[in-house]
Amino acid sequence: MTTESTHRQYAIEEYLVTSEPYYEPLNDEVALFEAAYAEKIPVLLKGPTGCGKTRFVEYMAYKLGRPVTVMRNSADGSKNGEESGMPLITVACHEDLTASDLVGRYLLEGDSTRWMDGPLTRAAKVGAICYLDEIVEARKDTTVLIHPLTDHRRLLPIEKLGQIVEARDGFILVISYNPGYQSALKDLKHSTRQRFMAIEFGYPPRELEAKIIAKEANISEAIGLELAKLGEKVRHLKEHGLAEGVSTRLLIYAGKLMHEGISPRRACQVAVTWALTDDADVQRSIEEVVSSIFE
């Protein structure tokens, strides 16, 4: 019995970034990443949540896959035949992520078992970009597993199979890390850290962020600017009632709500104020900033 699935579904290695993601470079990160890729240096992306790290990786995947010509998808969204982009495998790390989750495991099939590669193994085999998002969230024993892949030989031992996979050309390991959580427990181990080059991401400057928000939320640059201003002001409250500043992502959400006709103050309330904190006083002060900026 088969059911027609209504959602799109890809085998991991087939997930290609096929249309150019919108990415606004903040600095020279594009050039740095290209250089790292060429030299097979693993990359650590540092920065607070929602500041564009994932988007950047997607953008690089796309860019690296089409070094010479950029081909657009035809209007109906179907691929125009040619393979485009680089495969990108993203793993969101969490505290229960185990080695098997990354490398692979046996599955029971009928009366026998079948081995299934995990995302890391697949990435190594096909030569994809493997992006381990929020690496510090993962268990420390898991993190160690990636060490051999970052060596110059780029190997992935699979204990259970008694095999060693050599990463194919094109494979690159990218991890992200949010230094904002200043908890000793959530610090990246030095032995891990020292294997990556690091690109630091911050929130974009006001004008640029305004542009990003406007584009992503499909609103006017003027409103984008007001939202970016709000972002800037609210970020002043970091460590001062707020654990983290407001992310570009949340500002985009607020913009999108406005695009849908929600009043600006209300949109900011639900997408920014309430999303950020439960503390009544901090909420109130953010609300006052919102009402100072938006009518």
Binding site: H236, D281, E288, S291, S292, I293
Partner: protein
């Protein structure tokens, strides 16, 4: 005179002579006067009565003398029958005491007309009431009779009766007091009217039986206090007071005094209503009624009289449930009372919103800006004087303590917001970053040239310390300007004018930038501006130069259409508006404001400050006048040629201030900022030379010496300098950018004064936090009741720490090992999962079997290891009360004493042994064991890697709960921490509640899965005022329990450990279902505490 009469006279004179010649004289004088009215028999009877009196006792002839003397006055008043009765009273009194009789007779002529003859008996009765047979009582009764003429002239018989009863009641306590009260009574009661007197006296009577010591104060001060109460309501008030005295006794007078003083503060019109409301309560609790009256003025400051009944109703309902609760409500010592008032009030208190505004300002500016009351700024004595104007001194924003302009709370908050935004604007848009030599963005720089062209200042003769002017010739060149702002103002001959102009343009610039950056606040801002415009003074009534400045203020408020100006001078005004509007562009910098000031000053200089009548054509400026072609920044403000009428110019006065812009002192702020910066760079605040300061004070128009102190310049500048240094030292820990203490939920940090008691260390400023306290009687919190004063423990030597480690080396090693074992990450294998790390062999086998058996197999065939991460933080809270100073030996002895009671020899030998031992080693105190336990704990905690904080607490009274930091939760173990342990020492009392709440707040701010609050104490909680009186223990236990429960509700694990053997008694009540342990053997504390901790966290 008939012979018969003569004979009678001489026979009596003979009889009377032995007593006293003066008696004879009195007799003769009286007889002569009344002789014609009496028959011989009557005369004899009369004379005999006198003779009887005289014979009665040794000095009774005096009474007889009085009797004879007053007869001519009394007889006509009473007639002969009445006279007889009167005389009989006298005789009866004489039997008690002749002095009594004498005074009765003496007082009669004046007193009798005041009372009706029928009431003589009552009168005498009052005197007899006071007479108890002792000489003191006799003299009091005499005093009564002697004072009767005055008394009855003022009091009715009924009033006199109450007074005497009152005095009589006092006699039981003190005759002196009674006599004094009797003396002053008539005088004191004088101001009272009619019915009030008996009410007053009835209360006095109740007082006499309870608070008799206050009776005198009451009689002396009461009438004056009553006078401030609305005349019609005094009786009601006194009845309330009497009810209180009757039911509560004791402090009745204090309540009476406080309540009447309170009523004096409110409008007399409202007394009736307030008393009705109080009367509603008095049945249930006279105390609540009085508390209500006492609180009334404070409540009425915040809510209108129309709503007070609503506030009252809530408390009244509470009173039904619990009298303590209701009383606390009306005393304003309960959160309910405060909250209700807050809800009914439209007034906004700064203290309630300062946290929000602080974060708001921080968000806007990105700086650490504190928000305080303007009163605090004025108190600093560094130049600011207004206690209710918004302002900033560069590092904090100061706002009025409350705003109640509108009936609506939100609107009042809006006022605050505009105030705050404007001040934040100065910080955000760089007002105080003015640099003399930096170019603006709009106007070309002319400052430098203007400075060069300025006529050199006449060197002011230096003033020596005595204030004498030195001889000319020895002038020293004045020191250069301190700040760029000062240098800028130095350009101008009329500094006040320049300063006013700068304030206008700079405020205008800030307002423009704010409305551009903050679109949402534009409307509120505009409202403020138009309100300000509505209350500006009439420009055409001002001297002309002032009118010019006034018009600029209006224009800066968006009121171009409100400009009133003489037509013939119109070009200058147009030019000036041009300058202002050129400045009002988004790119304008503070330097542009300076340039605009320069140009406006030139224009203003050309306008003589003559009386407005000298010019005729005052008119509103028309739009046409203003629609001149836009002028370029280059040319503006340069042609100031005007034809001014000739006239005597008036002295220039500054314009009326604009409320929402507040006090603006850029020169002073720059100086403060410069000093702060120097201090931060050089590490100390050794600012300016006194000469520089004196010079600045002389020049500056921002600081008016006269406002600061009534002293000469030298003294004032010294005072100013002292204040300045104090201010700088105080801010030591608060430089911008440095982390401010985190605000906690209810503990709000407030800046305090520097302690500065240790010369060698930088004074560490204590941080203050406020916490509510639980009043179990009221069933409510007392809001912001306790003040925590947090400071680190002083530092001693690290050797203490090392020695303790050495002393306990084996225990240390053992503990370390135990704890290290806990350390490695632990995993728990979870089986039967749908998905996991690997297949579980048993489950797979089952799966296969079930499938073969055609049973639906259980698909949960995976297992996974889940890490159990240790994520623990703990705050140790150490009792540092004075009782920990107790030697352990004594402590033990306290419990053992009973055993020795029967056998003194046993006790003695035990004691001898103990003494011998004490000579060898100094006696160990409880605190010493606590300290050693801490050292051991530290090794354990370091081994396991938990986050931990170590705190001590003590203090005295609710205002001063000391909270000592040995090691803060996020502080790493360091030598400084070790040094602090050395200095842990017993201090004072034990107010546990607030200390627990503060430690809870610290833990709360610390992100951990498991958070433990570990309390180590040596006895029950107790402190001054921690309970109804000194002996009460309940209150403290309840508050502590509540504090522990709060911690538990917030997800902490509280645990109490005590070395008090009798701890079980109260710990059961204090902790209930919270864990606790009593460690009876104090010496085992170090090992026990670590064991307990281990058990608690695994």
């Amino acid at each position: 005179m008939s012979r018969q009469r003569k004979r009678i006279y001489s026979s009596y004179e003979k009889k009377l002579t032995p007593f006293s010649t003066s008696l004879v004289a009195e007799f003769r004088r009286a007889a002569d006067e009344i002789g014609d009215l009496m028959s011989d028999d009557e005369l004899r009877a009369w004379a005999d009565q006198g003779l009887d009196l005289a014979r009665q006792s040794w000095r009774s002839w005096e009474a007889a003398g009085e009797y004879y003397r007053v007869t001519p006055q009394v007889l006509p008043l009473l007639g002969s029958v009445g006279f007889q009765r009167w005389a009989k009273h006298g005789l009866d009194l004489a039997e008690l005491s002749s002095a009594l009789a004498a005074s009765f007779f003496r007082a009669s002529p004046v007193t009798l007309p005041a009372i009706t003859p029928a009431r003589i008996g009552d009168w005498v009765g009052l005197g007899r009431l006071l007479y108890k047979g002792t000489w003191r009582s006799a003299s009091l009764a005499v005093q009564f009779f002697d004072g009767s003429p005055a008394l009855f002239a003022k009091l009715s018989a009924e009033e006199a009766r109450i007074l005497v009863r009152f005095v009589d009641a006092l006699c039981d306590r003190s005759y002196d007091l009674a006599s004094h009260c009797l003396t002053i009574a008539a005088q004191a009661l004088e101001p009272l009217e009619g019915d009030d007197r008996s009410a007053f006296l009835t209360f006095a009577e109740s007082l006499a039986s309870t608070g008799w010591a206050d009776a005198r104060s009451y009689l002396e001060k009461g009438p004056a206090l009553l006078a401030s109460i609305q005349a019609m309501q005094r009786g009601r008030f006194l009845n309330l007071a009497r009810e209180l005295a009757r039911r509560e006794g004791r402090q009745a007078f204090a309540f009476f005094a406080e309540a009447s003083r309170a009523l004096a503060q409110v409008d007399q019109e409202s007394h009736g209503l307030l008393l009705s409301l109080a009367e509603e309560l008095v049945e249930r609790s006279p105390l609540a009624a009085m508390e209500f009256l006492k609180t009334a003025p404070m409540a009425l400051e915040r809510i209108p009289i129309e709503t007070i009944a609503e506030w009252h109703a809530e408390g009244s309902a509470l009173l039904d449930q619990s009298s303590d609760g209701g009383e606390a409500y009306f005393r304003m010592e309960s959160s309910r009372g405060e909250d209700m008032l807050e809800a009914l009030s439209s007034r906004v208190e700064l203290s309630r919103i300062s946290d929000i505004l602080r974060m708001y300002s921080k968000a806007l500016t990105g700086f650490e800006v504190a928000v305080h009351s303007s009163e605090a700024l004025a108190e600093k004595g560094i130049g600011w004087v207004e206690g209710d104007a918004p302002s900033t001194e560069g590092s904090a924003i100061f706002l009025p303590p409350h705003v109640e302009e509108f009936q609506d709370k939100d609107q009042n908050f809006g006022v605050y917001k505009v105030y705050c935004t404007h001040q934040a604007g100065h910080l955000e848009f760089g007002t105080f970053e003015f640099e003399f030599e930096r170019d603006g963005a709009i106007f070309p720089t002319e400052r430098i040239k203007a400075e060069a062209e300025r006529p050199p200042p006449e060197p002011a003769p230096p003033i020596d310390t005595d204030g004498h002017v030195d001889a000319p010739g020895e002038v020293t060149p004045p020191p250069g300007p301190l700040t760029d702002m000062e240098r800028f103002f130095d350009i101008f001959a009329d500094r006040k004018l320049a300063s006013d102009l700068f304030a206008i343009v700079e405020d205008a610039r800030i307002d423009v930038l704010i409305s551009r950056e903050y679109g949402g606040i534009r409307r509120q801002y505009g409202d403020r501006q138009s309100r300000e415009l509505d209350r500006r003074p009439e420009a055409s009534q001002l001297p002309v130069r002032q009118a010019f400045v006034e018009n600029l203020v209006r224009a800066s408020l968006g009121g171009r259409d409100r400009i009133v100006w003489p037509g013939q001078l119109m070009p200058v005004m147009i030019e000036a508006i041009g300058v202002l509007e050129t400045l009002q562009q988004p790119q304008a910098l503070v330097e542009d404001s300076a340039e605009a000031t320069l140009r406006l000053y030139r224009l203003a200089e050309g306008i003589a400050n003559v009386m407005p009548e000298m010019l005729e054509d005052w008119a509103e400026m028309s739009e046409g006048d203003l629609n001149v072609s836009p002028m370029s920044a280059e040319s503006l403000g340069n042609d100031a040629q005007v034809d001014m009428p000739q006239g005597e110019p008036m002295p220039y006065e500054s314009p009326q201030p604009v409320d929402f812009r507040g006090e603006f002192k850029p020169e002073t702020v720059q100086m403060l900022m410069k000093l702060r910066q120097e201090r931060d760079e050089k590490g100390q605040a050794s600012p300016i030379s006194p000469e520089q300061l004196k010079q600045m004070l002389e020049k500056s128009v921002e600081i008016t010496i006269a406002d600061m102190a009534q002293a000469d310049l030298t003294q004032s500048s010294e005072l100013f300098l002292t204040n300045l240094i104090k201010e700088l030292n105080q801010k030591q820990d608060q430089r911008p950018g440095k982390e401010q203490p985190m605000p906690t939920e209810d503990g709000q940090p407030v800046t305090g004064m520097s302690t500065g008691d240790d010369e060698h260390e930088l004074p560490v400023e204590p941080k203050y936090f406020f916490y509510d306290e639980w009043d179990f009687r009221a069933g409510d919190y007392r809001p912001r009741w306790c003040r925590i004063v947090e400071s680190p423990v002083a530092e001693g030597q690290t050797s203490y720490y090392e020695q303790t480690l050495a002393k306990y080396s084996s225990l240390v090693a053992q503990t370390q090992r135990q704890f290290e074992l806990l350390r490695p990450e632990m995993y728990r294998k979870t089986k039967r999962l749908l998905d996991g790390e690997d297949l579980d062999f048993d489950a797979v086998t089952e799966f296969a079997i079930e499938r073969r058996a055609r049973v639906t197999p259980n698909p949960k065939i995976y297992w996974r290891r889940n890490k159990i991460e240790r994520d623990v933080s703990v705050a140790f809270l150490l009792d540092m009360s004075a009782s920990t100073d107790e030697e352990i030996a004594k402590h033990e002895r306290r419990y053992q004493k009973d055993d020795f009671d029967d056998d003194p020899r046993r006790y003695f030998s035990w004691w001898m042994a103990r003494r011998a031992q004490e000579l060898l080693t100094p006696p160990k105190r409880i605190i010493d064991v606590e300290k050693e336990s801490i050292v051991l704990l530290i090794t354990a905690l370091e081994a396991i890697g938990d986050d931990y904080g170590i705190y001590g607490f003590s203090g005295y009274g609710r205002d001063n709960v000391e909270f000592y930091v040995v090691k803060d939760l996020d502080e790493a173990l360091s030598d400084r921490v070790k040094k602090r342990i050395d200095k842990i020492a017993p201090v004072r009392s034990t107010r546990m509640g607030p200390a627990i709440r503060h430690a809870t707040a610290k833990l709360e701010a610390h992100d951990s899965k498991v958070r433990i609050l570990f309390l180590v104490s040596d006895g029950r909680p107790q402190d001054h005022g921690y309970g109804r009186d000194r002996t009460e223990k309940e209150y403290a236990i309840h508050d502590t329990h509540m504090a522990l429960m709060e911690a538990k509700r917030k997800g902490m694990v509280p645990f109490c450990l005590t070395v008090d053997r009798y701890g079980h008694d109260y710990l059961k009540q204090m902790c209930q279902d919270i864990g606790y342990e009593v460690v009876p053997d104090i010496e085992s504390l170090p090992s026990r505490i670590t064991t307990l901790y281990r058990q608690l966290t695994t």
